[in-house]
């Protein structure tokens, strides 16, 4: 007796019902894909954007700097640490940087802000949001020169243009007040008012000498990974490799707790809704399969009468739920794929309702929502739905069989 093909045919005896159930599985898939995919996309973007804003996915800094930043807390032998880190797998890049607060002045006006001192040889557009957002001019090319890159907000407030000079005043490592001159090489615009109005990029060696730092001192090493999901693992490896009493190796969750918080909350919300929808779909499948078994009691009775073993009947029911699962997955793939492709390529543009400077956890959010699903997620969704359907089908089959044993047909 070919259980498989019989099961298949049984399924199509009740076309409508099968289709509706299969469709509900498909719907579940579309939902799971959408929720997980847009979530993944947003989180990945936010985490990477946060990393590009200066601190990276993993940061190596002086002990206690994260809690209370201070000029005196610095990372020594920064280039050696960098070399070590770059040799590790999974690390896309590592940049030494100095960060601090300063007053920026022209003859007209002065305002407070922050600087990020970088080595242009180490920096790329890919891993530096500010460089990526340059709208006029170019990043300075020397690390010990007098160039500066400022935000559009600051340019406006101080009346600066490329070529003009800016004097910055800050406190050096001995607590003394120091000043230096810089000429505007480029202007960037991230869209976040606070950043555009208060942030500048300076050449790292110039700042080192202004602050009276050692030749190889920095505030932190910003480490960007190929895949942020390896953060925990790589952090451990880095700590083993270069950790010591004076240093801390922190992940983005620790350096940007607000961002981590928002992502965590959103993820929870996502999980709960998906579980809920999953349960409901399971209920539907359960009901359908149970009904289909119940209403064929007579039929099954007859089959047993002509010699079919109960176990075979059980296998039959299981096969039916397997077919149902597959049908559901196929329908799911059919309806989800165009939707996914559209979201992947075009995305949904919320900029009408969100606007330009929407930030969560301190990171700018792209108002166009795309979708990205990694292999693990795809497998998880398919397996989950398949398993769900199977389990929902098993229960009625088992119960029925059990009940049958005590009943005479």
């Amino acid at each position: 007796m070919d259980v498989t093909s019989l099961a298949w045919r049984n399924l199509w005896r009740r076309k409508r019902r099968t289709l509706i159930t299969a469709f509900s599985i498909g719907f579940g898939m579309m939902l799971a894909v959408t929720f997980t995919g847009t979530g993944d996309y947003s989180y990945t973007n936010m985490i990477n954007a946060g990393a590009d804003m200066g601190l990276g996915h993993i940061t190596v800094e002086a002990l206690g700097y994260n809690r209370v930043p201070a000029v005196s807390k610095r990372l020594v032998n920064a280039s050696k640490v960098r070399e070590e880190v770059l040799s590790l797998p999974g690390v896309a890049d590592a940049m030494t940087r100095i960060s601090g607060q300063a007053i920026f002045a022209t003859a007209r006006k002065s305002i407070g802000g922050m600087f990020l001192a970088v080595d242009p040889a180490m920096e790329t557009e890919r891993h530096n949001l500010f460089i990526r957002s340059i709208i006029q001019g170019e990043l300075f090319s020397e690390k010990n020169g007098s160039g500066v890159v400022i935000g559009s907000g600051m340019a406006k407030k101080l009346g600066l243009k490329p070529g003009k000079k800016l004097i910055y005043t800050t406190t050096d490592i001995n607590g003394e007040i120091v000043s230096d001159i810089a000429r505007v090489r480029a202007i960037f615009k991230t869209g976040v008012g606070d950043i555009d109005g208060a942030m500048v990029l300076l050449p790292i060696d110039s700042v080192r000498s202004t602050l009276n730092y050692g030749r190889d001192d920095a505030t932190y090493l910003s480490i960007v990974l190929d895949d942020y999901r390896n953060t925990g693992k790589i952090r451990r490896v880095i700590t083993e490799s270069i950790g010591n009493q004076q240093r801390e190796v922190l992940t983005w969750r620790e350096t940007q707790p607000d961002l981590a918080g928002i992502i965590a909350m959103d993820r929870w919300g996502n999980y709960i809704s998906q579980i809920l929808v999953g349960l409901l779909i399971a209920a539907g499948i359960l009901n359908t399969l149970l009904m289909s078994v119940m209403e064929r009691t007579k039929e099954f009775g007859m089959m047993m009468a002509i010699g079919m073993a109960p176990r075979t009947l059980f296998k039959l029911v299981v096969a039916e739920s397997v077919w149902m699962a597959l049908a559901g997955l196929v329908i799911g793939i059919i309806i989800t794929t165009p939707w996914y492709l559209d979201l992947y390529n075009v995305g949904i543009d919320f900029s009408g309702s969100i606007g330009d400077d929407y930030s969560a956890g301190g990171v700018l959010i792209d108002p166009v929502f795309h979708i990205r699903l990694c292999m693990e997620s795809i497998i998880a969704i398919l397996a989950g739905l398949f398993g769900l359907t199977l389990v929902s089908g098993l229960y009625p089959a088992w119960r029925w069989l059990h009940g049958l044993r005590r009943l005479k047909v």
Binding site: Q101, A102, A105, T106, A107, I167, T169, T170, I177, I181
Partner: protein, 268 residues
Amino acid sequence: MQRIDGYKMRICKFTRLILSISLLLSFLNSSPALSRKEKPRERINSILRHIDDLWRGDSSYAVFKVQVKTAHYTRTMKMKGWSKGKDKSLVRITAPLKEKGTATLRSGNNIYTYLPRTDRTIRLTSGMMMGSWMGSHFTNDDLVKESRLEDDYYADISFEGIRNNRNIIEITLTPKPYAAVVWGKVALTLLADGYIQLTEIFYDEDMTISRTFTFTWLKQIAGALRPTVMRVIPADRPEEFTELVYEELKFNIKIKDGFFSISNLKRR
């Protein structure tokens, strides 16, 4: 002659500059081989070197009045100030009563202010540098930057002759490329006779006037004819001003380095 505050600094420095120029001129007059127009770079350099030599080891004491008029308030303060060398100075307020005893110490790049009302001394942070000094049109930054005028600028004589019926010399100071100053240029105008300062004008990078210092009220003080009143007028609010008036002035006083200390700030 030492700097006590911005104004004094300029008086002293540029008076010295002028004296040096006049010295040099007289030297030049007696050596026809070196004319005024030849090797101007060398001439300025030697002037500046000359000034530097006049500087070291000098000290001063002054009593002066500061009057500030802004759109929102007018205030008058009386102060005493001491200075030694290029980077040590101490200024103490003697009037009005509310602020009596407030003292500012400058030692190198550090500025400390003692506040008698709370009996606390605070160290100025970089965040306060661009803030106004005692509510005047000077900034705390001015106090620090003044001693570095010669380090930070090139000096050139940009005009000599008659202007407004007076025989004047105009010296233009252009910031050196790596000097941390916000100005585009500074133009100093002096009377040719006696090299007395008339005005000092600060321009921003676009060469628009940003603020103007005027020097008036010539008096014999500390052994020479000097302007005793300096007024600074911001270009964007010309009805406002800050005015310094010298009442007493002495140079080369005996004063120890230890005088310029945080503990000394508190004394009344």
